[in-house]
Symmetry: C3
Subunit: 353 residues, 3 copies
C-alpha cells in the first residue's frame, strides 16, 4: 500500500484538510504504536487529541473535526469510510479457481463457473454450486445442498444434507449447518428418550455471514432460516426452527432456542440467551448476556438487559438499589430502634434483619 492522502480521500469521498500529498503506507489501530506514515481513524471528535498524539501522518475523522496540526480526511461516517478504505487498500484475494485433485466430488454435482474446491474437501451427491464459489480445504458439503454464486465456505466447515445457501454468503471454519435439532421425548413406559427425527433443513439467504464454530440446527419439520444479511458471530447456537431476521446481528456465544423468531435489524449482544418460542420484534436490542424466557414477546425497538431482560434503565435502577440494600436494612433497623425508644408499641421484628 502506497497512496497519498488525496488518493485515500478520493476513495471514500472525503475532504482533505492540511497537506494531502503525503504517502500513506498503512492503517494502524489507535491503540499501540502507530508508524509515522500510517493513517488512524476516529469515530468521535473527542478522540482527536488522542489520535494526534499517536504521531500518525493522517487522521480519518468525522466532519465535525475542522482543524488539526495533523492532515485530515473528513467524512460524515468515519467507521463506514474506514470499512471502504480497508477494502480499497487491502483488496480481497480470491484463490485461483480450480478443483483440487484431492477433493472428492459426488455424483450428479453441478458446478458453476470459476469454482474453487480446496484440497481434501468433500461434496456429496447432487450438490449444486454457483459461480465463483469457494469451498475450502477439508470442508464437507453433504448431498443435495445448494450453494449460491460468490459464496465462500471456509475450510473445515460442515453442511449437512439439504442445506440451502444463497449468494455472497460467508461461512467460517468449523461452522456446522444443519445438524439435528435437540429433540427427544421421554417414553413413560421405557423411561428412555425417543429421538424426534429432524427431517427439515436450514435455509441461509443472501449475504449472511456466519463466524467460526457456530452451529445452526436443521428444523424438525420445515426450515430453520437465516434471512438476508444476518450476521452471526463465533460460537453461537441457533436451534431448530429458529428464524433470524434480515440484517440482524448476533454476537458471540449467544444461544437461540427452538422455534424462536428474531425480527429484522435487531442487535443481540454476546452471551445472550433466548429461550424457545420467543418473538423478538424488529429493531429490538438485547444487551450482552440478556436472557429472554420461553414464549416471551419483545416489542419492536425495545432495548433490554438482564435475566429476565427488562428495559436497560430499569435494570440499572435495580442494580443501584441492590448495591445500597445493606444501607436500607440498617435504616429500617434504626427506625425500629427509634420507635422502641419513643415507646411506640411494635410487633416483634424480623429476627434476621
Amino acid at each position: 500500500m502506497n497512496l497519498t492522502i488525496r488518493e485515500l480521500a478520493d476513495a471514500v469521498g472525503g475532504e482533505t484538510c492540511g497537506d494531502d500529498t503525503r504517502a500513506i503506507s498503512g492503517i494502524a489501530p489507535l491503540e499501540g504504536d502507530v508508524p509515522a506514515d500510517h493513517l488512524v481513524w476516529i469515530q468521535n471528535a473527542e478522540l482527536l487529541p488522542m489520535a494526534e498524539r499517536t504521531g500518525a501522518a493522517c487522521i480519518l475523522a468525522p466532519s465535525a473535526v475542522t482543524a488539526s496540526a495533523t492532515s485530515l480526511i473528513r467524512v460524515p461516517n468515519p467507521k463506514l469510510a474506514f470499512a471502504h478504505l480497508l477494502r480499497h487498500c487491502y483488496p480481497e484475494s480470491r484463490p485461483t479457481p480450480g478443483i483440487h485433485p484431492s477433493s472428492m466430488v459426488g455424483a450428479d454435482v453441478r458446478l458453476g463457473m470459476d469454482v474453487t474446491i480446496g484440497p481434501n474437501a468433500v461434496l456429496g451427491d447432487r450438490v449444486t454450486v454457483g459461480d465463483r464459489v469457494v469451498i475450502g480445504a477439508c470442508a464437507v458439503v453433504e448431498q443435495d445442498c445448494r450453494i449460491g454464486d460468490d459464496t465462500v465456505i471456509h475450510p473445515t466447515a460442515m453442511l449437512y444434507r439439504d442445506t440451502q445457501i444463497g449468494q455472497r454468503v460467508t461461512i467460517h471454519a468449523s461452522v456446522v449447518i444443519g445438524c439435528d435439532g435437540f429433540g427427544f421425548v421421554m417414553d413413560p413406559n421405557t423411561q428412555r428418550y425417543v429421538k424426534i427425527p429432524q427431517v427439515g433443513n436450514v435455509i441461509i439467504e443472501d449475504e449472511v455471514e456466519i463466524s467460526a464454530g457456530t452451529t445452526v440446527d436443521r428444523a424438525t419439520i420445515g426450515s430453520t432460516i437465516l434471512r438476508r444479511g444476518a450476521k452471526i458471530d463465533n460460537l453461537v447456537q441457533i436451534a431448530h426452527n429458529v428464524i433470524i431476521g434480515e440484517d440482524t446481528a448476533v454476537s458471540a456465544q449467544t444461544g437461540v432456542a427452538g422455534s424462536s423468531t428474531i425480527g429484522d435489524h435487531c442487535v443481540i449482544g454476546g452471551q445472550a440467551g433466548i429461550a424457545d418460542h420467543v418473538t423478538v420484534e424488529s429493531r429490538a436490542v438485547l444487551a450482552a448476556r440478556s436472557g429472554l424466557a420461553p414464549g416471551k414477546v419483545l416489542r419492536s425497538g425495545s432495548v433490554v438487559w438482564g435475566t429476565p431482560a427488562q428495559p436497560i434503565a430499569e435494570v440499572k435502577r435495580q442494580l443501584a438499589a441492590i448495591r445500597r440494600l445493606p444501607e436500607l436494612r440498617a435504616e429500617v433497623a434504626a427506625l425500629r430502634k427509634a420507635l422502641e425508644e419513643a415507646g411506640v408499641p411494635l410487633p416483634e421484628g424480623e429476627s434476621r434483619a
Copy 2:
C-alpha cells in the same frame, strides 16, 4: 409420503375421528403456512382452535380432544406419537456401506460388517469398529479408540486416542471427544504453569447422542463418562472426570467443570454452569442459565434456577422483590419523614438512601 389418516393412525396406535380415508402428503409445523394435505400435531387440547385454523387435513391430538371439524388422530401422548410418526414417514437412510478409497485406515484396525467410512476420514492404528458403523467424511478417530455397533460419527468429528464409544451412539459434526482436560499448576519457583498430563480417557455408553461442536475432555486419570442414553446438545463443555448420568439431557452451551457428577434422568437447561466437584443427584432439574458453585450438592428432584441456583419459586419471589425495591426505598424514606414530623427522635439517616 402418501398415506391415509387411517394408515398414519395405525402406525402410532392412535384412534381416528372423522374422515380417515384422506391421503396425507406431509407433516407441517403449527406455525407458518400449512399445506391443506398436511398433518399438524398438538400436545395440549387448548391448541385445538389454533390447529383447526391452519386448515390442515388432520390433527394429531391428545385423547382429551374428542371432537373437531378436522379429522383427528387421538393418542395418549402426541409428542411421542409425533416422534414415531416422523420415523415412520421419513425412514432414516443410511449410506451404502463401504470404505471410501480416500479414507486412511491405520494398522491393526478391526472393522465390523457393513461399515461405512467416508471420504478423507482417518482412523488411527488399532481402532476397533463395530458392525454397521458409519464414520463420516473428514472425521478423525485416533489410535486405540473403540466404536460399538450401529454408531454414527458424523463428518469432521474428532475422537482422541483411547476413546471408548458404545452402541447406537450418535456423534455430530465438529464434536471433539477426549481432548486434554484443562489442568495446570503454577510452579512457584518459575512463576509459570506446569501442565498436568491428562492420561485418562473418555467413555461414551450406548445410545448417547452428542450434538455439534460439543467438547468432552479426557480424564486426568481414570475416565470421563457419559452414561447410557445421555443426550448432549450443541456447544456444551464437559470437563475432565465428569460423569453424566443415564438419560440425562444437557441443553446447548452448558458447561460442566472438572470432577462433577450429574445423576440419572436430570434435565439441564441451556447455558447452565456447573462448577467443579458438584454433585447433582438424579431427577434434578436446572433451569436455563442456572449456576452451581464448586462442591455444591443438589438433592434428587430439586428444581432450581439462578446463580447461585435456588428453588425456582424462591428465585421468582426474590426477582419480584427486586423489581419493587425502589418503591420500598421510597416507603422507608416516607416513614422517616413522618416520624421526623411527628417529633420522634431519630438517628441520622442513610445519606445515600
Copy 3:
C-alpha cells in the same frame, strides 16, 4: 508402570515415610475405586483420612502430613509433584516423524527437521514449520502461517492465513485461529451492513495452550495476541485485537470482546464475559460467570464476581441481602402499621408493598 514408592519419591524430590519398597502400578483419582497397588494424592492434610480409606498403597501428601498407616511420599506442593509424577510415569509419545502421503503441502513451504504431518492435513503456500512440529490429520494451515519448534497442532484445527505461532504451543482439535473479527458497520443509506475487512492477524507466543473448539479472531488491523504461557480452555471466544497476557488462564466458554486487554498472571473463570475495550490488569481474578462492561478497567490483584463484576465479598453481601428482601418488606409494613395504630400521621403507603 511398575516403580517402587522410593523410585517415585526420587522422581519428584519427595521424602518417603513408611515402607517405600512396594511396587506401584498406577495413579488413581481419590474418588471412585482405587486399586490396592495404586497411588493417590492429596493437596491438603485434611484429606488424609479420606485417602487412607481408599486402601491405596501410597499417598502423595503435603509435608504437613507426618505420619500415616499408609506409605507416604511427602512434598511441599503435591499438585505440582503430581504433575511431574504423571509426566514421569506416562511419558508423552510423539508420533514417528514423517509427511503422510495423503497430506497436501503447498508451494514454497519450509519444513524443519523431524516434522510430522498427518493424513489429509493441508498446508498452504509459503507456510514455515519449525523442528519437531506435529500437524494432525485433517488440520488446515493456510498460506503464510509460521509455526515454531516443538508445537503440536491437533487434528481438525484450522489456522487462517498469516497466523504466527511460537514454540512449544499446543492447539487442540476444532480450534480456529485467525477467522475474521466480527466487524460490520450499518450503511445508513442502504440500511445494510458493510463488512469491515479484517486484514490483521493472530500472534500466539511460546508455550500457549489452546483447548478444543476455541476461536481466536484475527485483528481488524494489527494483531490479536496471546502472550507467552497463556492457557485457554475449550469453547472460548477471543475477539479481534484482544491481548491475553503471559501465564493468564482463561476457563471454558468465556468470551473476550474486541480490543480488550488482559494482563499477565490473571485467572478468568468459566463462562465469564469481558466486553470490548476492557482492561484487566495483571494478577486479577474473575470468578466464573463474571461480567465486565465495555471500557471497564479492573485493577491489578482484584478478585471479582457477578455482572457487573464487583469484589467477591460485596457480591456475597448483596446476595444475602436479596435472599432476606421479603422479610425486609414485611418489617417495613409492620412499622407502618404500628405507626398508624400509634396515630402518627403517614403519607399513603406504597400500594404494591
